[in-house]
Amino acid sequence: MTYFSDVAALARKDLLLELRARDTLPAMLLFVVSTLVVFHFVLPADSSDLAAAGLLWVALLFTALLGLSRSFAAEREQGVIDGLVLAPSDRSAIWVGKAVSILAFLVLAEVIALPAYALFFRPVGGALVAGVALADVGIAAVGTLLAAMATASRARELLLPLLFLPLAIPIVVGGVGASVADDPARYLGFLGLYDALFAIICWASFEYVVTE
């Protein structure tokens, strides 16, 4: 129970910081909506579902990247990561707490992004929503670990996309497949497997990322 109370305290802290500073979520919302507006004018009216879904996933991925790049800003700028690392709680709780808060930001961004997609492109089906939900878990899991790795580097703005985008390719493949395939279950299962696999890897390896 103490593990989950640590996670809850850390996630609550991140949400409170965002509520006060408002430097991540507004940027994500603005970015995803403006990207979809631009794509709306770029994409020909007679383009395929696949093209529209592909653009949605590009928008979601880069929106996530924007949020991830800010995710450890407070810890980096104020050196607080040392304080969290020194606490007796399991260090993976830091990763879980941060991933939960990133997941919350992603969901909030998508609450706006999916209706905007429906307005500009195609109706949003259940398979697309399920795909986005599963993709969010994978993005939060992998992205949090990589953001923690990148934050220790001076070239963090360059390093995070370089590390994250290759690992996010399976998410895009699964997400686009779930959005347009006649049988989305296979792609949703693939996304679920990706989430489970990478969540375990990231959970187990976070400790080594935050200690010198």
Partner: protein
């Protein structure tokens, strides 16, 4: 509590510490001195478990939760209030009777009236007082303090003197300072880094 032999730390090719030997037992007070760049902060980070040595032997027998650390940064969130910061650490350190303990420390360090103010609005001295409150919150057995008087006014420094005097029988200390005269009387061992 801390046992180090032939301790060495390098960042890339640059040696920061070389051949450091130290033993810190229960209730010892190790005073670490040396000029800028001599590796005091690096040594304290090694002792706190925040960094790993490049070579040599380092044993720290204190559990992470029984260690208090004050570094160059106060390790608090600027967007959270003093109370919220200590609440967070109190939860993570599983401090019993957390509210009472936080209230007592805020009162003692003269931050009670500013408890609802964000740490970002604090002066350097107030941040240092908050950092000291954070480090003492869980009543650590080992206190590692890097320039603990930094930013403190006369009143704050006198307060820290009293805290150190009151705790020397209950805890071990590793303290790095540029002003060794101030805490010389507490020291049971000295380490001068070149």
């Amino acid at each position: 509590m801390i046992h180090a032999r032939a301790l060495e730390k390098r960042y890339g090719d640059k040696p920061i510490l070389r051949g450091v030997e130290l033993d810190v037992g229960t209730h010892d007070f190790l005073l670490v001195t040396g000029p800028n760049g001599s590796g005091k902060t690096t040594l304290l980070r090694l002792c706190a478990g925040l960094a790993a040595p490049t070579r040599g032997e380092l044993e720290i027998s204190v559990e992470r939760g029984r260690l208090g650390y004050v570094g160059h940064e106060p390790l608090v969130y600027r967007e959270l209030t003093a109370l919220e910061n200590l609440e967070l650490y109190g939860r993570l350190y599983r401090v019993p009777e957390r509210r009472e303990r936080i209230g007592m420390l805020l009162e003692r360090f003269g931050l009670w009236d500013a408890r609802h103010a964000r740490a970002g609005s604090f002066s350097r001295g107030m941040l240092q007082r908050l950092a000291l409150s954070r480090a003492l919150l869980h009543e650590p057995e080992l206190l590692i303090l890097d320039e603990p008087y930094s930013g403190l006014d006369n009143e704050g420094a006198a307060l820290l003197d009293r805290e150190l005097a009151a705790r020397t029988d209950d805890a071990a200390f590793v303290v790095a300072t540029h002003d060794p005269q101030r805490i010389e009387r507490f020291a049971s061992a000295r380490l001068s880094l070149a």
